[in-house]
């Protein structure tokens, strides 16, 4: 085996450093331009260094020859190609590292040549020893430098640690930021949820309000329907009442007409009665006149009688004085006595006539009154019939009324109908008021609905914006995560680098030997510088990253604060809107009350004297009074008429009763009177009226039949015309026996009673004596 010379070893040790040196070259910007133009990648350098290192390992001891050149190259900042210049043209150190056989041959050649050039070598050794001393000095200085560098390395390590701490802190911060972000996102989520909840609540409220609205509408419809029904009912009632009113009016008119008619009839009757009364009074006057005449006649006859008595007395005196005048005087006396008898009979007749006349007048009066009563009774009967028909009509109407009352709910009697109607109308008014309220509520609900919809839209917009913000935050978070990942990778790279440094240092420490002077030429300084630079750059990067992260954090914080502010604003808005809604509700209630009071005032007819004045016609008073008077008069007349009617009907009833009674009494009396006449005077008297064939005047005909008449045909007929009694000729009176009596009594003496008495006596004699 080949023993290694210190130089070789050193070279070897230097060789081992080469990859690191190569790597150290990378960050230095000064050496960069020296790298071939096609190779400017750091990785290329490290790769190349690794290849060189591998080749050295593979080549074993031969590598140590190859590397000093490289080290020199490194130390003297000379390129690989300048090795020839450095070691001279005789040096065969510069070899192709890749060819192993060739290298062995060259070593063998050097071994042969060593003995030959020993002296030279010794000289060079001395020189080299000197150099070694110099180098040792330089090594010492370098060691001190190394110590400084180590110190600086320690400082760097500390720096690194601090950087690592900073990185860790930044990582922690990042984590805390992440956590905060997560919290924020969670808060945002919660906010979103709450907003969504609110949305749901609002939707629910909306639905409730819609339902309420629908209910209110339904109630309004129902109220309207009720109002319509009530109105229909009212209209029906109105119609029925109108009909009834018309009917009642008609009836009233009819009654008025009837009453007028009855009044007129009564007036006419009274007029006729008056006329009759006049007639009767006239008759009575005529009768009185007749009576007076008869009295005069009676007085005359009395005078005559007195005269005759005087004459008789004188005659008697004469008779007494003149007894000679016997027969003449006797005849005269007889005449006179006959005359006296006649006159006395006349007086009796006159008295009888007077009595009869009085009786006749009484009877006539009674008859008239009876006739009047009968007429009244007849009128009353017709009235009664009318009243009954009216009563029937009224009963039918009453039935109709009762039917209608049965139809109307809640009404038990006719008096209940107006109440019911009033109630219905009140209900209608209340229903309209309710509908008004319902519509007002509806309007309010609609307004609220609109508000809710608006707020919902706002909330939707807010949620959308919040979602956007959340998405932005998420993207930012992802970006930050990516940054964190990058930083961690960088950290890892830095750690790796540090580890590699550590390894290198460990290798250097293990391989450092006092003889390796050339190999350790300023390499640690360079590497440390490069490391410092690297670390500073990494630090700068990290600081940049930190600043970026801080900026991002600030931004996100700002965002979150903005969002919070927005949320606070929204909540404030919502609360203010709620308070506003409440205040509006209160205001609406006040306004409703005000409207109600104003409507009341309007209903009462109050007015604002600033804008309105009330005028009326001044000369209204007269018309009013006249109207009142006429109304009062009409009412008075109506009342009087009705009272009169009632009194008349009462009177009619009482009169009817009386009439019946009178009829009975009169019938009894008449029959009694006839019976008495028949029994007393012996004649059955029948009376009937006929019309005179010539004058067409009513004539009363009396048919008399004697109690002693031999046959039923033996009748006497008398007629009474204007207070004069004439006898009518019959078969019986024209018979020879009777005609003689007629001539003596009726034609000579013109005395019907004497004729009657004579006839009675004749017939009596005939029936009883024969």
């Amino acid at each position: 085996m080949i023993t290694r010379s210190p130089v070789q070893r050193r070279r070897f040790s230097g060789l081992t450093e080469s990859p690191a040196m190569d790597q150290q070259e990378r960050p230095s910007p000064t050496k960069r331009p020296r790298v071939p133009p096609d190779v400017d990648d750091n990785d290329f350098l490290s790769r190349r260094a690794l290849e060189v290192y591998n080749g050295a390992q593979r080549s074993g001891s031969h590598r140590m020859i190859a590397l000093p050149a490289r080290q020199e190259n490194e130390l003297g900042s000379v390129e690989f190609d300048d090795v020839d210049e450095h070691f001279g043209p005789g040096s065969s150190y510069v070899l192709d590292c890749d060819n192993h056989d060739h290298l062995n041959g060259s070593i063998r050649c050097t071994y042969k040549c060593r003995n030959m050039v020993k002296s030279e070598v010794l000289e060079s050794l001395e020189m080299k020893e000197k150099q070694v001393g110099e180098l040792q000095i330089s090594v010492k200085s370098l060691r001190s430098k190394l110590e400084i560098v180590e110190n600086s390395e320690k400082g760097l390590v500390q720096n690194r640690k601090s950087l690592e701490q900073v990185v860790a802190a930044s990582g922690g911060r990042e984590a805390s930021m992440h956590a905060q972000r997560l919290q924020d996102s969670a808060k945002a989520d919660e906010m979103l949820r709450t907003q969504l909840k609110r949305c749901h609540e609002l939707q629910a409220r909306l639905q409730e309000e819609l339902q309420l609205k629908a209910e209110a509408e339904a109630t309004a419809r129902a109220a309207e329907a009720q109002a319509l029904e009530a109105e229909e009912e009212k209209m029906k009632n109105e119609e029925t009442s109108m009909r009834q009113i018309h009917q009642l009016n008609r009836e009233l008119n009819r009654l008025r007409r009837d009453s007028e008619y009855s009044l007129n009839r009564l007036r006419a009757e009274s007029a006729t009665e008056m006329k009759k009364a006049h007639l009767i009074t006239e008759e009575a006057d005529t009768l009185m006149a007749q009576l007076e005449e008869e009295r005069q006649l009676l007085a005359q006859t009395v005078d005559e009688k007195q005269e005759l008595e005087h004459k008789l007395a004188e005659a008697m005196k004469q008779l007494a004085t003149r007894s000679t005048t016997g027969s003449e005087a006797d005849t005269v006396i007889k005449h006179l006595q006959e005359e006296l008898k006649k006159s006395s009979a006349d007086v009796a007749e006159a008295r009888k006539l007077k009595q009869l006349h009085a009786n006749a007048a009484l009877l006539k009066e009674q008859l008239h009154s009876e006739k009047m009563r009968a007429n009244r009774a007849e009128a009353g009967l017709t009235d009664l019939v009318n009243l009954q028909s009216r009563v029937n009509e009224l009963e039918a109407e009453l039935e109709r009324w009762s039917d209608t009352i049965e139809v109307i709910p809640g009404a038990h009697s006719r008096d209940d109908i107006p109440r019911c109607i009033v109630e219905l109308q009140r209900a209608a008014v209340a229903a309209t008021a309710k509908t008004g309220e319902a519509t007002a509520q509806l309007a309010q609900l609609q307004i609220e609905l609109e508000r809710a919809q608006r707020s919902k839209i706002h909330a939707d917009a807010r949620t959308a914006s919040l979602q956007d913000e959340v998405a932005e935050a998420m993207t930012k978070a992802s970006r930050l995560e990516r940054k964190v990942a990058m930083l961690s990778t960088e950290n890892d790279g830095l750690r790796r680098i540090l580890e590699s440094y550590d390894n290198e240092e460990a290798v250097i420490a293990s391989h450092r030997k006092p003889g390796d002077k050339i190999a350790s030429l300023a390499t640690p300084e360079k590497s440390k510088d490069s490391r410092i630079q690297e670390l500073s750059s990494a630090l700068a990067d990290a600081q940049q990253n930190i600043t970026q992260l801080e900026e991002a954090l600030l931004q996100s914080n700002n965002l979150t604060t903005e969002q919070r502010q927005k949320i606070e604003k929204f909540t404030e808005d919502i609360e203010s809107a709620k308070t506003e809604i409440k205040s509006l509700d209160r205001e609406a209630g006040h306004l409703r009350k005000e409207v109600a009071t104003l409507e009341k005032m309007l209903g009462r007819g109050e007015f604002n004297p600033a804008t309105t004045k009330v005028l009326h016609l001044i000369n209204n008073v007269g018309s009013g009074e006249s109207s009142a008077k006429s109304a009062a008069v009409s009412r008075g007349t109506e009342k009087a008429q009705s009272e009169e009617l009632a009194a008349l009907t009462k009177q009619i009833a009482s009169l009817e009763k009386r009439e019946v009674r009178y009829r009975q009494i009169f019938a009894d009396k008449i029959s009694l009177f006839r019976e008495a006449c028949y029994l007393l005077f012996g004649y059955k008297v029948q009376m009937h009226e006929e019309k005179d064939s010539l004058t067409q005047m009513p004539v009363t005909v009396f048919t008399l039949q004697s109690i002693y008449a031999s046959s039923d045909d033996d009748k006497l007929l008398f007629q009474l015309i204007q207070g004069r009694m004439d006898m009518l000729a019959t078969d019986f009176t024209t018979s020879p026996e009777i005609s003689r009596q007629v001539t003596t009594f009726l034609k000579n003496f013109k005395s019907i009673p004497a004729f009657m008495a004579n006839l009675t006596m004749e017939l009596f004699n005939k029936t009883t004596l024969s």
Partner: protein, 204 residues
């Protein structure tokens, strides 16, 4: 067709005539229905497609006619706000009923003299409705037992001049009235809202 078109157009004057005539017939109907005057004083007249009763007593007729004429002039100027028929007892002077006819005039028509459109038939049916309500109001209004008189009050604007034979009056209000709203007549120029307020008594 042309005649139909012209008939549906309503001017201020035409509207005033329609409203004053309607008021005349309404007052007559109230007088008859409330029995202020004896029924013999009224005669049947065909109007608005129904039979109405009009008072033939000369004084009353003259009074109502002068009132409605003046109201028509006020309607044309738009100065009238309300016509009230007051029914009061003669003996106690107490107001028993107030028949309100609240009148709203179209300001545009008054100011610019624009014509409006509304068919005669519609107006007639509206008037019919009110008069039917007046007739049927007898059913719920309390019975008038005293002898009564009536007066017509016109609520006019303060600026309007007081014509001859007219004077200011108090409103003749009822203390605790019961109000029943009747229908409205709208001629598209004047809107007449009818309402009766009467003295409210608890017992019937």
């Amino acid at each position: 067709m042309a005649s139909n078109v012209t008939r549906d157009v309503i001017t201020l004057k035409g509207s005033a005539a329609i409203v004053s005539e309607f008021l005349n017939y309404s007052v007559n109907s109230i007088l008859y229905q409330r029995g202020i005057y004896p029924a013999d004083d009224f005669t049947m007249v065909k109007k608005y497609g129904m039979s109405l009763l009009v008072c033939q007593q000369e004084q009353v007729k003259g009074f109502i006619d002068t009132n409605t004429k003046q109201i028509a002039t006020w309607l044309e100027t738009g100065n009238i706000q309300r016509v009230v028929m007051v029914i009061a007892s003669i003996a106690t002077k107490e107001v028993l009923e107030r028949w309100n006819f609240i009148i709203e005039s179209d300001q545009e028509v008054l100011e610019k003299g624009v014509a409006r459109e509304k068919s005669d038939k519609d107006i007639r049916t509206e008037i019919q409705g009110i008069i039917r309500q007046i007739v049927s109001s007898v059913t719920f209004l309390p019975n008038i037992e005293d002898a009564c008189t009536f007066d017509l009050l016109a609520y006019t604007s303060v600026e309007s001049e007081v014509p001859a034979n007219w004077g200011e009056s108090d409103a003749q209000l009822i203390h605790n009235p019961q109000n029943v709203k009747l229908r409205t007549v709208d001629t598209a120029v004047h809107k007449v809202e009818a309402m009766v307020s009467y003295k409210f008594t608890e017992e019937f």
